[in-house]
């Protein structure tokens, strides 16, 4: 993840690495079908800029040489393409039938208590976004959730509490500046750290 751009004067640009990734994506599709690379390219953009603010979508449109309207309509359609900034950790609790039958509501209650927010909200320090999500295809390991890119299966309420407390402690220990950030950080669930006991 690169640094968020500090000024509005500097035009938004992809890093060399991101450009190379997008070029690699374009090579997967027929030359006259560049839009096919759009969804994976938008993931690259999210990794780079945190979320798909309008300037980012314009940049992707230029990079792929597809109309901005195509980028906008595709970005709007898919829930994993982020149209707003999210917390550093995106806690996604499945609330569909199998997870309901195995106690997902209890996990959601723990998340509310620990984070002080409800589903669809981000903590004021920008660390956590909590979401109720649809089926994660982990029904035999219910209740299931994802934090960032990591799956957690057969989660008990005690484990849920411990995971969230560990993440909060980790944030305090390693990134005091993050916790003090005045606005939500432009970081998506897709860039959540993979290190650490539960990362």
């Amino acid at each position: 993840m690169s640094e968020p751009s500090a000024t509005s004067a500097a035009p938004l640009a992809f890093s060399a690495d991101a450009k190379a990734r997008i070029a690699g994506l374009l090579a997967r599709y027929p030359q006259d079908r560049k839009q096919a690379a759009l969804i994976p390219a938008l993931y690259v953009a999210q990794d780079e800029f945190g979320w798909l603010k309008p300037e980012v979508m314009e940049l992707v449109a230029r990079e792929l040489d597809v109309p901005l309207t195509a980028v906008l309509s595709t970005a709007m359609f898919y829930t994993m393409l982020k149209k707003q900034p999210l917390g550093r950790w995106h806690v996604q609790v499945c609330t569909n039938v199998s997870c309901y039958l195995r106690g997902c509501d209890g996990l959601m209650d723990v998340a509310r208590q620990e984070l002080g927010i409800g589903p669809g909200e981000t903590t004021s320090d920008g660390l956590f976004t909590l979401s109720a999500v649809e089926c994660l295809a982990a029904c035999g390991m219910a209740p299931a959730l994802q934090i960032g890119k990591k799956d957690h299966f057969n989660v008990s309420t005690d484990q849920m509490r411990q995971m969230l407390q560990d993440l909060k402690a980790d944030a305090r220990a390693h990134a005091p500046a993050l916790a003090a950030a005045p606005t939500p950080l432009p970081s998506s669930g897709h860039t959540a750290p993979t290190a650490g006991p539960h990362g």
Partner: protein
């Protein structure tokens, strides 16, 4: 790397052809797949020739494992012989609530699927294949990308595969959190970088599919079965199943059972055996109330309907579907209004919005369910649910309308006493 997805010790009622006891072996490594005889089917197929392999798959009664149960070999035969380039597109958008079987191949045994992809592409004459993996499957995407890269390095993908003169490129294409993209034409739209709006059919994908070209869309588990058919023959595959339903089937049992998990059984095994023997019976030894037989789009079954055989035809005969074989079990303590609400919310949330009956109708279903749960139900609301379902059913471009209407109508019709008691309890509580 142990599999979190499979029960490690096979149950005596299981017949494992696809699921493997990994015993410390990492089958995401090509060397380990080759060591167990992997890609043996390719060598055999080349000797047999394309037509013979196609004939075997057709004779094997390999029914599509994505939910519709359409015979794969018959589908392959729909491609027009007009010289246009052809595509294979693999549906790995596993999102049907209750379903967690393709995840096993994608994360633990990708080469079984990829050998099936190679065989299928060769038979149908496709030189490019896209594997559409749902976006939430981060690990699966990573495993499949690595597996594909390994195959290129070892000469199992790319130009002139193993000296056969056959070329094939395989690419992973990630989804981005839209259930509707499991509908085959929505999936093709999504690969093209567009919103997942299902297409009107005809034309069918076999004629006008990905990038306007003839395209076969098959499910992950269907692909995993193809090497088995080539290795063992159609007769052996048929012997694993029931009439017109060849092979074994992965069934995922979840909900109120003692041993939730992924099991592999012969087609034709009973639902009762899946629930009471494989999955160990009902949690806390309670009474069974209802069962979703194959993902939440299927009409629900009562406890009196579970002697049905697990195959595509038997479940259709009793007015439901085998779907994805994602079996969800609910005991007699289940709040059916809550289940109804979650099912309705799902189909409302995932409706693509193209067709008025689905876009508006799923909203109605959810609104009615919500007010039942809030103690604000009006007299006749259960009948209103049925009426709304009847107006969605059959009136939409794709099957999302039926996917919402059928289970909800079945809840309203089969579980009326449970809905009424839950509604009464809420009304009393809110007074």
């Amino acid at each position: 790397m142990g599999s979190p997805h499979a029960v490690t010790v096979p149950h005596p009622l299981e017949t494992r052809v696809l699921l493997r006891d990994h015993e410390g072996k990492d089958y995401t490594q090509l060397a380990n797949y080759l060591a167990r005889g992997g890609f043996g089917a390719w060598k055999k197929a080349v000797e047999m020739g394309r037509d013979k392999v196609h004939t075997e798959v057709r004779a094997a009664n390999l029914r599509g494992r994505g939910g519709a149960g359409f015979p794969a070999g018959v589908k392959w035969g729909f491609l027009p012989k007009d010289g246009r380039p052809r595509y294979l597109a693999i549906n790995a958008d596993e999102g049907e609530p209750g379903t967690f079987k393709d995840r096993y191949f994608l994360e633990e045994d990708p080469f079984q699927m990829l050998e099936g992809i190679l065989l299928t592409s060769w038979v149908i004459g496709a030189h490019a294949c896209y594997v559409y993996v749902r976006g939430e499957f981060w690990r699966a995407i990573d495993v499949c990308e690595r597996a594909i890269a390994e195959l290129y390095q070892a000469g199992w993908l790319g130009k002139n595969i193993q000296g056969s003169g056959f070329d094939l490129d395989v690419y992973v294409h990630p989804g981005a959190g839209a259930y509707i993209c499991g509908e085959e034409t929505a999936m093709l739209e999504s690969i093209e970088g567009k919103p997942g709006w299902p297409r009107l059919k005809p034309p069918f994908p076999a004629n006008i599919g990905l990038f306007g070209m003839p395209t076969i869309v098959n499910n992950v588990e269907t692909m995993a079965c193809v090497p088995v058919i080539v290795n063992d023959g159609a007769d052996a595959f048929n012997a694993l199943g029931s009439p017109k339903n060849g092979g074994t089937k992965l069934v995922g049992v979840s909900g109120h059972v003692k041993r939730p998990g992924l099991y592999e059984v012969k087609m034709g095994t009973t639902m009762r055996a899946a629930i009471y023997e494989l999955a160990g019976g009902i949690l806390d030894d309670r009474e069974l109330l209802c069962v979703i037989p194959g993902g939440s789009s299927c009409p629900f079954l009562t406890k009196d309907e579970i002697d049905v055989a697990l195959d595509f035809d038997a479940l259709k005969t009793i007015g439901s579907m085998f779907g994805t074989a994602g079996i969800v079990v609910m005991h007699d303590g289940t709040n059916m209004v809550e289940v109804l609400t979650r099912v309705a919310h799902f189909y409302k949330h995932e409706s693509c919005g193209q067709c008025t009956p689905c876009r508006q109708g799923t909203g109605w279903l959810y609104a009615i369910a919500k007010r039942m749960g809030a103690g604000l139900a009006a007299a006749g609301d259960i009948d209103l649910l049925v009426s709304a379902c009847n107006q969605i059913d059959g009136n939409t471009i794709c099957a999302h309308g039926e996917a919402a209407a059928w289970p909800i109508r079945s809840i309203a019709q089969k579980f009326r006493p449970q809905l009424e008691s839950a509604m009464r309890a809420r009304m009393t509580a809110s007074m």
